[in-house]
């Protein structure tokens, strides 16, 4: 897997970083079970996410990975189990509440706002932090204007960070796939989340694009110390960039541990790695 090879050096650097920086549990998923009208999507799933770590959730299609993310950010409401986020316990909450509590995510099929420019898309990520009332905006005076400028400035840093200066004002609909993925990442970052959920950030990318995306993910984790939970199919990438891996299969948790530990786990090998990938 060429991506892996190219990544190793970056990886060592960041590995060192993590060793220093991984903290204690910020999000704890406990005995989550979810079903849609009888169809079981998740069965009694539990795992912890620690501060500053990159946690990968892997598993064959239909293993319930996306559902897991949807539960974490409140889009699905599990029938059983609870989620403890930053010490606060909750069974279910509306997605926008989750967002306001610092959980951001990107989507498997890009979910950008097609009608808006890349910049505006990223700016929407700041909306939760923008306070000026409607009247102030209508007049666009003092505080409202200043607020806009400050947030624009912040977003420009993200744009610079993700190297999308050139497409800043292009409507996202016109951007190539890889770029859209970056913009989406940017939108999530704009919210300065403490947990970032990435749903197959590299799906459908070519090798270079994957490399870039890996670099960005690691840089984000380094520069901002953002905790990351990501779903990814490319085992090479997963083993490479993640500190811990949770393996799901048919809605059940098979394993949970360091990449090497998981690689060694017989159950996983049978259920997953055995499957051609």
């Amino acid at each position: 897997m060429s991506v892996v090879a190219d990544l190793t050096d970056i990886n060592q650097a960041s590995a060192a970083a993590h060793a220093r920086r991984i903290g204690d549990v910020v999000l704890s998923v406990q005995n989550i079970s979810l079903s849609f009208g009888g169809v079981r999507a998740l069965t009694n799933i539990s795992f912890d996410v620690r501060e500053h770590e990159v946690l990968a959730i892997i598993g064959p299609n239909g293993a319930g990975k996306s559902s897991m993310l949807n539960v974490i950010n409140g889009f699905y409401h599990p029938q059983e189990g609870k989620i403890i986020h930053k010490g606060v316990e909750r069974k279910s909450m509306r997605p926008h509440e989750a967002a306001r509590r610092g959980i951001a995510r990107t989507f498997q099929n890009i979910a950008l706002f097609k009608g808006m420019s890349a910049l505006d898309n990223i700016m929407t990520g700041r909306n939760t932090m923008m306070k000026s009332n409607i009247l102030a905006q209508a007049l666009y005076f003092g505080p409202a204007r200043r607020e806009e400028m400050e947030h624009r400035k912040f977003c420009e840093h993200i744009i610079d960070f993700l190297e999308i200066e050139a497409v800043r004002k292009t409507p996202v609909g016109r951007l190539p796939y890889g770029m859209q993925k970056r913009v989406e990442l940017g939108r999530a970052l704009a919210a300065q989340p403490d947990i970032l959920l990435l749903d197959e950030p590299m799906a459908g990318m070519n090798v270079e694009e994957k490399e870039d995306m890996c670099r960005f993910i690691l840089d984000v984790n380094n520069e901002f110390g953002t905790t990351m939970v990501l779903i990814e199919h490319d085992m090479g990438v997963v083993m490479d960039i993640s500190d811990r891996v949770v393996v799901l299969d048919y809605g059940r948790k098979l394993a949970d541990g360091t990449p090497d530990a998981v690689r060694a786990n017989q159950e996983v090998i049978d259920a997953y790695l055995g499957v051609s990938h």
């Binding site: 650097a13 960041s14 060192a16 970083a17 910049l119 624009r152 400035k153 420009e156 840093h157 744009i159 610079d160 960070f161 200066e165 050139a166 800043r168 840089d219 380094n222 520069e223």
Partner: protein, 655 residues
């Protein structure tokens, strides 16, 4: 320029910096397209930034006489670092950031660089890699912390943190920097630039403040540059031009230097900024022109024809109007309309709207490209210069701009032509020496300060210098007259019908030449003429084609005859080759330069035929076809005499 005389007193860049910080504190000194807008720094801000960094450097142990390497794209912080080094009496050495580690290692070693300021992680990695070879190098400062978070080495410092310590340092030692600046004099070493000579290792050209500032000021006064210019800094900082335009002249005039967002965005940034003073090598102008033509191809037909019509108008009168020559009212009206419909919008889209002065130099620029921009009303001029001269040797004065000259000697520049035709100059800009290379210095520069350019040139009747060839390639006819083959060949090649030409004459009675027709151009011509032909060889042999080429040759002779020094080089006889000169056959270099010696052997008989009066000669050459097969082509080549003017009575310049 009254504006500039005030700066005469200041003989170093740091002194000029203080001057502008006082005289025009709020005038923008630098801009950089970053985070989506043009971040701006006024002169007083720039002054403070530089002072802070200088202080920080000295806190890190940078001392008078130290050297500071600069590696990276054009970034304000890097320019400031140069000024900071100069403030402390040290010497900045900008390095080509794209040069491979080995070259870079050589430079840093040779210049005994102790400090380096680099742009980002990429350069940091590169320098760390070569550090073992550069024992002197002890301190690295990086501008962009991205990705360097985990680099623990203690010789690494962030630009901003250096500035912070600097600000502390200034508090602790007020007046220290002013004292340092006061110590500086014009004779101090201002900057050291490594030029990768065609042969051997790069040489460190040492330029004093006087070299830079006097040259910069002379040119600025000649062109009337003021503090309100905007230049776009996009050419490598290690190149002498950038030092003169973005440092020397910026500090002399106090105008604004603008840094592009990145290499890819130069053109868009250019369009946004609309510089007033611009330099670019010919190929850039050429690329822009090509893209213009390509983009126009896709335009609606009515638009295309409008474009074509007005471009013709411009070609006819644009340049004359620009040079203030008389033009009929009707044409002026047409030009005005064209300006509204085509020229102004075009310049706007290209970002040339505000240009008052544009320079080009390097290799010769194609006359049609040159006149295209001038006809749009853009004052583009050629200059002739070198690193050793702090750029300016010759400049085309306003109103006297010709595509085929490099202009008159720049102010305070003396030029003499050696008997082999080599151009030699003497000027305030003449470099001090090559660093640690006394004998190389001696080769290039006489004790009384004349510098060899290695170019052969002549002065035309308007006192403009023409560069005709590399001096070493210039030969002599038996009558002793100078014979620059490339010059003759280039003159021939300016005709679309002639693709290649090889001129002979060194140690011979007269000049004669081989000619390669351009199959495209001549082919079209033949079709228009209704002339049927079976292929290259057939077409090349046609008498009509010979007539066509003969006209070209005669015109060249007319031109040459005008000039006393070159009239001897008129082409007496020529033949048209039966095949294209080809790199695969070893007749050209891969860069399509004629390999004279090879051709001399291979076509010995044909060359003799040119001189022994035969009117045709048999030739049979081995050729390599596209698919690599070898074969031979043979033919009888006719030889024609050209019309030659008596050298005795040179006639008026034709046209």
């Amino acid at each position: 320029m009254a504006g500039l005389t005030t700066t005469r007193a200041m003989d170093t860049l740091p002194k000029l910096l203080k001057h502008h910080a006082q005289v025009r504190p709020n005038h923008p000194a630098m801009r950089e397209k970053d985070y989506g807008i043009w971040q701006s720094w006024s002169w007083s801000q720039v002054h403070d930034e530089i002072m802070a960094f200088a202080a920080g450097l000295s806190a890190l142990g940078f001392k008078r006489g130290d050297t500071l390497a600069i590696v990276g794209d054009n970034r304000p912080q890097l320019y400031w670092a140069m000024a900071a080094a100069q403030t402390l009496g040290g010497t900045p050495i900008p390095v080509y950031q794209d040069s491979v580690a080995k070259e870079m290692a050589f430079v840093l070693q040779h210049a005994e660089v102790r400090f380096a300021v680099v742009e980002n992680q990429e350069q940091v990695d590169k320098l760390i890699e070569i550090m073992p070879d550069c024992p002197a190098l002890k301190t690295l400062v990086y501008k962009d912390p991205r990705g360097l978070r985990d680099y623990a080495m203690d010789f690494l410092h962030a630009y901003t943190e250096v500035q912070d310590t600097g600000r502390e340092f200034i508090k602790a030692h007020p007046g220290f920097l002013d004292a340092e600046i006061a110590k500086g004099t014009g004779s101090d070493l201002g900057v050291m630039l490594y030029t990768s000579g065609t042969t051997g290792q790069p040489k460190g050209v040492m330029l004093s403040f006087d070299n830079i500032l006097i040259t910069a000021r002379n040119n600025a006064e000649m062109e009337g540059l003021g503090p309100d210019e905007d230049v776009l800094a996009y050419l490598p900082m290690a190149w002498v031009g950038d030092n003169i335009f973005s440092m020397g002249q910026a500090y002399v005039c106090g105008f604004t230097v603008n840094c592009a967002e990145s290499g890819e965005t130069v053109l868009t940034d250019m369009r946004e900024l609309g510089p007033t003073y611009f330099f670019a090598p010919p190929r850039i102008y050429e690329n822009i022109l090509t893209t213009v033509m390509i983009r126009m191809e896709d335009a609606a037909s009515w638009k295309r024809s409008m474009f074509k019509y007005f471009m013709d108008v411009a070609k006819r009168v644009g340049t004359r109007i620009l040079d203030g020559k008389p033009v009929s009212g009707m044409d002026r009206l047409k030009y005005a309309i064209g300006n509204v419909l085509v020229y102004a919008p075009l310049k706007n889209v290209l970002g040339f709207s505000r240009i008052r002065l544009a320079y080009t130099a390097g290799e010769a620029i194609g006359p049609e490209i040159f006149s295209f921009y001038r006809s749009l009303g853009m004052n583009i001029k050629q200059i002739y210069g070198s690193t050793e001269a702090s750029v300016f040797i010759c400049v085309q004065p306003n109103g006297e701009v010709y595509a085929d000259t490099v202009g008159k000697p720049a102010p305070e520049v003396e030029i003499r032509l050696a008997d082999n035709g080599e151009v030699q100059f003497k000027s305030p800009g003449v470099f001090q020496a090559y660093f640690k290379e006394p004998q190389k210095t001696a080769e290039e520069k006489t004790d009384d300060g004349w510098v060899h350019t290695g170019d052969a040139g002549i002065f035309d009747e308007n006192g403009h210098l023409k560069i005709i060839d590399r001096a070493k390639d210039v030969g002599h006819l038996n009558n002793g007259a100078m014979f620059p083959p490339k010059y003759v060949e280039n003159k021939l090649k300016f005709f679309p019908y002639i693709k290649e030409a090889v001129a002979f004459g060194n140690e011979r009675e007269s000049v004669a030449c081989f000619i390669n027709i351009d199959i495209e151009a001549v082919g079209n011509w033949a079709e228009r003429k209704g002339l049927a032909y079976s292929g290259f060889q057939d077409l090349a042999a046609r008498p009509e084609v010979y007539d066509l080429i003969l006209e070209c040759v005669n015109q060249v002779n007319d031109d040459l005859a005008v000039h006393p020094m070159l009239s001897g080089c008129q082409i007496h006889r020529f033949l048209i080759l039966h095949k294209e000169l080809d790199a695969d056959d070893g007749e050209l270099t891969r860069t399509r330069k004629v390999r004279r010696r090879f051709i001399a052997d291979r076509y010995a008989d044909q060359i003799n035929a040119l001189y022994d009066g035969r009117d045709s000669v048999y030739v049979s050459t081995e050729v390599t076809f596209e698919d690599g097969r070898k074969g031979t082509v043979s033919a009888d080549l006719r030889i024609r005499d050209a019309k030659v003017h008596k050298v005795a009575e040179p006639l008026r310049k034709a046209s």
